[in-house]
Amino acid sequence: MTVTREAFVLPGLFLTVTLLGGFRVDDRITLVPPPLAALLLALVMLSTLVRGRVFAPALLMSESRTNAENLSGLVVLLTLFAASAQALHLVTPDRGLLHGIFVVFLFVQLLTASAAGTDRAGLLRTLVVTLGAAFILRFIVLEALYASDGGVLKRVLTALLAGVSLGGIEYAPHATITGYVAFATLALYIVGLYLLPAGGIASMLQQQNAQLHGSRRPATDLPTPSVPAARGPVTEGEVLDG
């Protein structure tokens, strides 16, 4: 990963997602900070991303990196957490029973994706589908159902839903621009995830060899015959075993 990507591109992308994730327009512009549920979902999301090797924390922060590099990596991690919280908050209704249902849906989906143990590409596809489905439910289905210019049938249906759930199901529709901004925000978030440093086997080997030998040369360069090393380079088998 280049310095520019780590220091500017990724924090910039994730901070933009953080900014736009709370953007709502109805009769005025409001910016909604992430609720507690979104923060918890973001933690699960980070765990899922690490398990699915979408990114390797060791490539952002480790002993082999300098202080400046570690600080830069920490910024990426913090902004990724904030962006994840806002991206998940974005596809979740703000209150009511629907908020709870969406949170449980996302929580189960993330745990399922994490437990499935798919590779990087597979997990990214899963996340695109999950976030896309939640986006469609919230910004297309619910917005259409609860639109203020809806017909009599829609009003009867929403009144029935509210009655059956004893007022638990409620939804405040937003202006159309909210959906467009939400779409762009989710797209930026997915792009950010794709740009994260992947935790593949090669990069892990490189990282561990760098720690063993105090340098960051590629794994294939270590060790040289003339310099006796404390031990040989870490092999792919050792990494997979342990």
Binding site: A7, P11, G12, L15, L19, I29, T30, L31, L71, V75
Partner: protein, 162 residues
């Protein structure tokens, strides 16, 4: 060097985000003006303010407010917001009853003036005004919106607009 620059960029961007979330600007002018006010670089349009003041003094309140809003598009200047609030008070004041809607807008404006004033208190040196501080104006607006037995006091008909 690049990493330090990146860190500064991230910190600055995060600070802007925190400010935007706390201020919730409703327009580009409010956003830019608010950011400028945060670093002490916000200036009102003095010519538009003078136009507003002239209109205010001849009781052309709507015209005055248009000029004041042009002078202070970000609603960040305490003195301008004070005059906007005062214009709502004078326009909404009535010998028999006050216009609650205008008084409510006046209250919002005086709250903005208090928020923008250093130490949350503003004194305006204007001999044409009977209320020269934000506290007096706010109390008068709140009093005007209150419903109580004194509303039926016939002596109210002899009170004067401030």
């Amino acid at each position: 060097m690049s990493r330090v620059a990146g860190l500064l960029f991230s910190v600055a961007y995060a600070a802007v985000i925190l400010w935007v979330y706390s201020a919730e600007p409703q327009s580009r002018a409010e956003a830019v003006g608010g950011l400028a006010a945060t670093i002490g670089a916000y200036r009102i349009d003095e010519r538009a303010f003078d136009d507003g003041l002239a209109a205010f003094k001849r009781d052309a309140f709507e015209e005055a407010r248009m000029a004041f809003e042009r002078a202070d598009p970000a609603s960040r200047d305490a003195r301008t917001q004070f005059y906007i609030a005062y214009s709502y008070y004078r326009q909404g004041w009535g010998r028999v009853y006050n216009d609650d809607e205008l008084f409510a807008k006046g209250l919002e404006a005086v709250e903005r003036a208090i928020a923008a004033a250093p130490g949350h208190r503003l004194d305006v040196e204007d001999p044409d005004l009977q209320m020269r501080s934000t506290d007096e104006l706010k109390a008068e607006l709140q009093e005007g919106m209150r419903r109580d037995a004194s509303d039926f006091n016939p002596l109210r008909l002899f009170r004067e607009r401030k």
